[in-house]
């Protein structure tokens, strides 16, 4: 549930150090006085050193031919060979294309839904209906990905599933949803909205509750309709939150939903369901091509970082809220 979002407090650049440097002995004294705080920090530091920075250091195997005996640094250097092999492979355009499709479709469809839901829920007059709606809509977020995909398989089953029973009742032919490449994307995105829209809505509701009611009262006096107030008060009021969440969504564009895509994969829908990260999983962990798949993973991370930096820059140019 790391989706609970904070507006991150970016670590400021080094420019904010005090104007005059204190003498070294004094600074050492301050460090010594805070030793207990450093002790508290040790477990977290050890954690990121071992499970974040060590793998990051190991990414160099993307430029080597990794073998377990020589390890991360001793394996022979091969430069960009793995990247070139990936770009020239027949899977390249398919895998990258599938990833972008899922990511962009997810962003266009799944991102606006919680905003709209929050604006609507916020307008409800009855507190009880408001609470009820909120609880119901966000409950699917607590169902595991495995179970959600399991639900898809049983409900969309061509033999006995609810959806196909309904289709047959209406006189249609049953559809093998989980085995058709053309159905993978719609099913993926719709189930994503079904599961997560309610939970994402909470953040926007929290932002909406921070809008000064006096603005609404003043607008009412001026004769503004509900729709106009949403358009001119609520929406601008939560715009900073929307922008920050949007940038973060962009930054995670190529990472989200990997586990779900992996679970939804069948041999039959692979032409659309194989995305960069599932490909890394198959090539790397199932076929033990460590260096090759690490190179693909690195390609993915760098692409992600570039997207994030670009959109943050765009947002800053547009004078919107930014991450830093």
């Amino acid at each position: 549930m790391s989706r609970i979002l904070a507006r991150p407090t970016p670590a400021a650049p080094a420019s904010s150090r005090p104007p005059q440097r204190k003498p070294t002995s004094l600074r050492l004294k301050r460090v010594a006085r805070a030793w207990q705080l450093y002790v508290l920090l040790i477990p977290s530091l050890v954690y990121i050193a071992v499970f974040k920075y060590w793998p990051m250091y190991g990414v160099q195997i993307a430029f080597r031919n990794y073998n377990p005996v020589d390890g991360f640094t001793g394996s022979p250097w091969v430069g960009l060979q793995h990247f070139i092999r990936f770009v020239n492979s027949y899977q390249f355009s398919q895998v990258v294309g599938n990833t972008l499709w899922i990511a962009v479709l997810g962003l266009l469809v799944a991102f606006p839904v919680p905003v709209v839901l929050a604006l609507l829920v916020n307008q409800l007059q009855s507190e009880r209906f408001k609470k009820f709606t909120q609880t119901v809509l966000y409950s699917p977020a607590f169902i595991s990905t495995v179970v959600v995909v399991g639900i898809m398989f049983v409900l969309l089953s061509p033999r006995s599933g609810l959806v196909n029973n309904a289709i047959q009742l209406a006189g249609g032919q049953p559809i093998f949803f989980m085995g058709s490449p053309e159905w993978f994307r719609p099913v993926y995105v719709i189930s994503d909205v079904w599961q997560n829209a309610g939970f994402s809505m909470i953040v926007y509701l929290a932002a909406l509750s921070g809008i000064d009611p006096a603005l609404h009262d003043a607008a009412k006096v001026d004769g503004a309709s509900k729709f106009q107030r949403i358009r001119h008060i609520d929406l601008p009021g939560i715009m900073p939150v929307i922008t920050v969440l949007f940038i973060l969504a962009i930054g995670n564009l190529l990472n989200v939903g990997f586990e779900k895509a992996l679970l939804m994969q069948t041999n039959l829908n692979l032409p659309t369901s194989e995305i960069i990260q599932t490909y890394v999983y198959h090539a790397g962990l199932q076929q033990a091509q460590f260096s090759y798949s690490a190179a693909i993973g690195l390609f993915n991370s760098v692409l992600n970082l570039v997207l994030l930096l670009t959109f943050n820059w765009v947002a800053r140019r547009a004078n919107q809220a930014t991450l830093w």
Binding site: M1, I4, A6, P8, T9, P10, A11, A34, Q36, L37, L40, L41, P43, S44, L45, I48, F51, W54, Y57, G58, F72, L117, L120, Q125, T135, V136, L137, S139, P140, F142, I143, S144, V146, V147, V149, G150, V154, P158, S160, L162, W194, G198, I202, G210, D212, D217, K220, G223, K226, E259, L263, N267, Q277, G284, L285, F290, S293, A294, G297, L298
Partner: protein
């Protein structure tokens, strides 16, 4: 200043000194507003149905005669009530074993994560700790760039953790988001004056943290515990890549193998329609419905209790520190 109430309450409604002048909305605008209300309630009601109906259907299908489900006779009410699906689950040792493993991983993993996060976040919340900004940067960087799946796997393998409980509880132990949320909670709720007063009385940082800060941070601790319990209960991927021994599989991985993999393997065999095979298939489907219910039930029951804390958690995070 109250310390143990909600750390970040929404701004109190602004009281108007004078009653507002009468609204000056025209008839047309009032009509537009009620049309809007009707549209909003309709959309939300439809959304609620869209969320609830699939879950409701699974519950009734799990206690219905599988043939009735198969023939599409079950829509709103169960038909030909049977508990065979549940009986089969109760008799399935894989499920029980998985459940036991999940409980172990959840308890151990949550304990490790919450302790590490609370300790680290408190240190990082202290503005008088030299090097704080640099240390924070070390954490933030990992949010935007990571080494990827393969190197993570190799590190865990090199540490000799494959096929052990540590591979499930350690690699994802500290989420930087959670660390930031905890840090802003401490920054916003623990006033510096309190610490100065305690120091004046001779308390060192450890005493202050354990005796004052932690007791004042119950809402945060509850939130962190719940976030991690839910995450561990629902996770399968680390177990999938780091565990080979299927007696160590957590519940979600067992579920995945039964709910999803078994369907894949039988997906191509729609044609061969021997009667007994079909019957076995239907019982299999019934068991799947029951399995979905059983595995989701604990969190769904706990949800009303957890909701308050999760909403509060969103508030903690939403406030800029």
């Amino acid at each position: 200043m109250s310390l143990n109430t909600e750390p970040v309450a929404a701004p109190a409604p602004v009281e108007h000194p004078r009653p507002l002048p009468k609204r000056t909305m025209s008839f047309r605008d009032k009509w537009a507003d009620s049309a809007f209300n009707i549209a909003a309630v309709t959309i939300l009601t439809l959304s609620i149905i869209a969320v609830v109906y699939p879950l409701y259907f699974i519950v009734i299908a799990s206690i219905s005669d599988p043939s009735a489900v198969y023939e599409g006779k079950v829509w709103l009410f169960p038909s030909g009530i049977t508990l065979e699906g549940y009986q089969r689950i109760l008799a399935d040792s894989r499920i029980w074993n998985g459940l036991g493993n999940t409980v172990i991983y959840t308890v151990l993993g949550t304990a490790i994560s919450v302790t590490t996060i609370l300790f680290g976040a408190y240190a990082l919340s202290r503005k008088d700790m030299p090097g704080r900004k640099f240390l924070m940067l070390l954490f933030v960087i990992t949010m935007f760039f990571d080494g990827g799946l393969i190197t993570k796997y190799l590190v865990v393998r090199d540490l000799g953790m494959l096929d052990t409980v540590w591979a499930v509880v350690l690699p994802g132990a500290v989420g930087v988001w959670n660390l930031i949320i905890a840090r802003s909670f401490f920054e916003n709720t623990i006033p510096e004056e309190l610490r100065e007063a305690a120091q004046m009385d001779g308390a060192n940082d450890f005493t202050f943290f354990f005796k004052m800060v932690l007791p004042l941070s119950k809402p945060l601790i509850m939130l962190m515990i719940m976030v991690h319990v839910v995450a561990h209960w629902n996770s399968f991927f680390d177990a999938l890549i780091f565990l080979n021994d299927d007696t160590k599989y957590p519940l979600q991985l067992v579920l995945r193998n039964i709910l999803i993999q078994s369907d894949v393997s039988s997906a191509g065999t729609t044609g061969g329609d021997i009667e007994s095979y079909a019957a076995a298939q239907r019982i299999g489907e019934l068991t799947k419905y029951a399995m979905i219910v059983v595995s989701s039930l604990p969190l769904m029951i706990a949800l009303p209790f957890m909701q308050k804390h999760f909403t509060k958690g969103t508030m903690i995070g939403a406030v800029k520190s």
